[in-house]
Symmetry: C2
Subunit: 352 residues, 2 copies
C-alpha cells in the first residue's frame, strides 16, 4: 500500500546498486484505463487500454527514467546534470535534480518547445539554454559537455534512463496478468520503445508473461526510422517527437523486428484527430502522445494488422496540459451570455 | 494490483447504490510524497508529506468527486450535466461526462479562469458559457437551472461529489497507518475541506485511525470564512479559490472547530513563495494548491501551532500545468547561446 516509486517497487529487476537510496517523486503506478468506447470507434472487436503516463509527477513518462538516472548521478557525486530536450525531459530532469539537490542545465531548440513545458522547466528551477538549432544538435552538444566535464548526462543515452522506463512494461503485465498482443506508442528519440521492449522481454523471461508486437509510430514530417535515413529539419506539431536523428534508432528498429511489429508514420492531421478522439473519451494528452492511437487507427483502416479478439495497449506519454496552445490556438470561443436564466436555458435547449 | 478507481476501491464506505457501475477514469491513488527537505526549510522537527492531487486524470482533485457525481447522473438517466467553475471542475466534469456519454455544460466567470484550465474544458468537449460575473453568480445560476430542468448539477453542492472526495482521507490513512496530526489545505468553495473531514471521521469510526487538526487556508483577498462575511469581489492570483461565498462555508467552519484546527488567510505573495518552494522541491502545483504550505509556514513562523514531532500532510489540489501563465508571465528568459561548446561551457562554469 505504501508506494515508494518505480525503483523500490521493481528493485530486483532494475540494474542499479541495491543499497542505493532512490531519488524519487513516487513516479510510476500510472493507471491503465480501459477504453471500450474508443475501441468501438476504431471498429471494435478488440480490447483497448490507455497507459496514461501523463499522470507521472511532471506530467510525462520521463519521470520513470529520471528517477534512475538521478539516483545514479547523485550516488556518483555529480553536482549538476545536463540534457537536451523538446520539453518533457527538461521538466523531469529539473524536478528530479531539485529533489536530489543538484543543478539542472537543460538545452532546448529555440522556438520549438511547447510553452507549458518550458514553464515547467523554469518552475522547477532549471538553468535553461536555448540554441538556434535542432534537438539533434542540442543533443550532440550536451553529449560533448558530459564527456569533457563532470556534468552528468541524463538524456536517454544514459542507460539508467532505460532501466527506469522499462518498469512501465512490468506494470502493464502486472495489471493484465500478461503482456498485451500489441503495444502502440509514439517514437521520437526512441528511448521509450527501446525500454518497453527491454522490459517485456525481461518480464517474460522471469514470469512467462508473453511478448507484444510493437507498433512504433512516428510523425510523417519527422520519421527517420520509416524513411530509412536521418531527417535534417524534422517538422511536426507533435513537438515531443520532433527528432530527426533518434539516439536509439537501431534499438527501435530491432524492437519492431524482434517483436514482429513495425514502425510507421502518421500525418499531423491524423495525430490531431487521434488527440481529439482520446480527449472526447476523457483522456487529454499532448499531440505526440496520440500518435500510438493514430497509428493503430491507420493500421486497422488499411487492414494491415489483425486486431480481432486482441488485447491492445496504447501508451500516452504526456498530459494534454503540457501543450495547451494546440487547443487554445484553434478552440471555439466560449459562448458569452448574460448572467440570466432565460438566456442560459435557451442556450442549453438550442445545443448541440 | 488491478486498480479500478476510488469507488471500487472504497465501495463499502461510499454512499452509492452498491450495484452501480462506476463512471471512472481510474482517479485517485495519488502519491503521498515525503518532503523532508521542505520540512527543514520550514524549520524542521516534523514529518511533512504532500498529497499530490494534481496527478488525477484531469490534473486536479475534482476527479475524485466527479466519478461519484457522474456515476449517479448516468444512473439517474440524465442526458446533460452542468456546473459553475473556476476551471478545475469544468475540466473534470467535461472529461467524466464524455466518459459517461453525457453533455457537459460549464459556466465560468469571464476572464477569471487560467488558460490551461479553459483549454482542458474545451479539449474534453465541454459546452462552455462565460458570464460577466463572479463564480458565485455562476453557481447561483447553475443551481437554478438544475432545479428547473433535468440537467444534473455536478458542483460540490452535489452530495456525491463529497462522497468521492473523502476517499483521499482514506488513502492518507492507509499509507500512514493513521491520520496525520495536521492536515493543511486550500479553502475556496469549501467542498474539499468538508469531504476530508467527513472521510477522516468515517475512517476513524471504522478503523480507529485518529483525527487530524485541520488547517484550512484561504487567500487574503478571498477569505470570507476568515473575515466572517461574504466577499462580493474576491481577488487573488489563486484562481481556484477565488470564491467569495463558499457553498460549504458552514461545514468548513465546523470542520475547523471540531478538529481543533483553524481557517486562516495568507497573501498572494505568500502563496507564490510557497508555490516556488514546492516546485524547487520537485513538486509544481498551481498557485491555490500552495496555500496549504503557505499557511503552515505562516503558522510556524508566528508560533501559532506546535509542529514538534508532528506528522503533517499538505494537500496540493492541482498540477502546476493548470496555470503555466503564472510562471511564463514572470519567468526568466532562457539564455540564448550559439550552438558552440565553448560558449556553453562558459555558461555552465559561470553559473550559478
Amino acid at each position: 500500500m505504501n508506494y515508494q516509486g518505480v525503483i523500490n517497487r521493481y528493485r530486483d529487476l532494475i540494474h542499479l546498486p541495491t543499497d542505493i537510496d532512490p531519488v524519487t517523486l513516487l513516479e510510476g503506478n500510472t493507471p491503465l484505463i480501459p477504453v471500450p468506447a474508443l475501441a468501438e470507434e476504431l471498429g471494435g472487436g478488440f480490447e483497448l487500454y490507455i497507459k496514461f503516463e501523463g499522470l507521472n509527477p511532471t506530467g510525462s513518462f520521463k519521470d520513470r527514467g529520471m528517477t534512475a538516472a538521478m539516483t545514479m548521478a547523485k550516488a556518483k557525486g555529480a553536482k549538476a546534470v545536463i540534457c537536451a530536450s523538446t520539453g518533457n525531459t527538461a521538466a523531469s530532469a529539473a524536478a528530479y535534480a531539485r529533489r536530489a539537490g543538484l543543478r539542472a542545465i537543460v538545452m532546448i531548440p529555440e522556438g520549438k518547445v511547447a510553452v507549458g513545458k518550458l514553464a515547467g522547466a523554469i518552475a522547477y528551477g532549471a538553468e535553461v539554454i536555448q540554441i538556434p538549432g535542432s534537438f539533434d544538435e542540442a543533443l550532440s552538444l550536451v553529449v560533448e559537455i558530459s564527456q569533457k566535464s563532470t556534468v552528468e548526462l541524463v538524456n536517454s543515452l544514459n542507460p539508467y534512463r532505460l532501466e527506469g522506463q522499462k518498469t512501465s512494461s512490468f506494470e502493464i503485465c502486472d495489471v493484465l496478468g500478461q503482456a498485451p498482443d500489441w503495444l502502440c506508442l509514439p517514437v521520437g528519440n526512441a528511448g521509450n520503445i527501446t525500454s518497453y521492449w527491454m522490459g517485456f522481454k525481461q518480464y517474460h523471461q522471469l514470469k512467462n508473461t508473453g511478448l507484444p508486437h510493437i507498433l512504433g509510430v512516428q510523425a510523417a514530417g519527422s520519421a527517420p526510422l520509416v524513411i530509412g535515413h536521418a531527417v535534417d529539419h524534422p517538422e511536426t506539431i507533435a513537438t515531443a517527437i520532433r527528432i530527426g536523428r533518434p539516439a536509439r534508432g537501431e534499438e527501435a528498429l530491432a524492437a519492431a523486428e524482434e517483436s514482429t511489429g513495425k514502425i510507421i508514420a502518421v500525418t499531423d492531421d491524423e495525430i490531431l484527430a487521434a488527440q481529439k478522439m482520446l480527449a472526447l473519451n476523457g483522456i487529454w494528452v499532448e499531440p505526440a502522445s496520440a500518435a500510438g492511437i493514430a497509428g493503430l487507427k491507420a493500421q486497422i483502416q488499411t487492414g494491415s494488422i489483425n486486431v480481432n479478439q486482441k488485447r491492445i495497449v496504447a501508451i500516452c506519454t504526456g498530459h494534454g496540459m503540457k501543450d495547451p496552445d494546440i487547443i487554445t490556438s484553434k478552440m471555439t470561443k466560449p459562448t458569452l451570455l448574460p448572467a440570466d436564466y432565460d438566456a442560459i436555458e435557451a442556450f442549453i435547449l438550442r445545443k448541440p
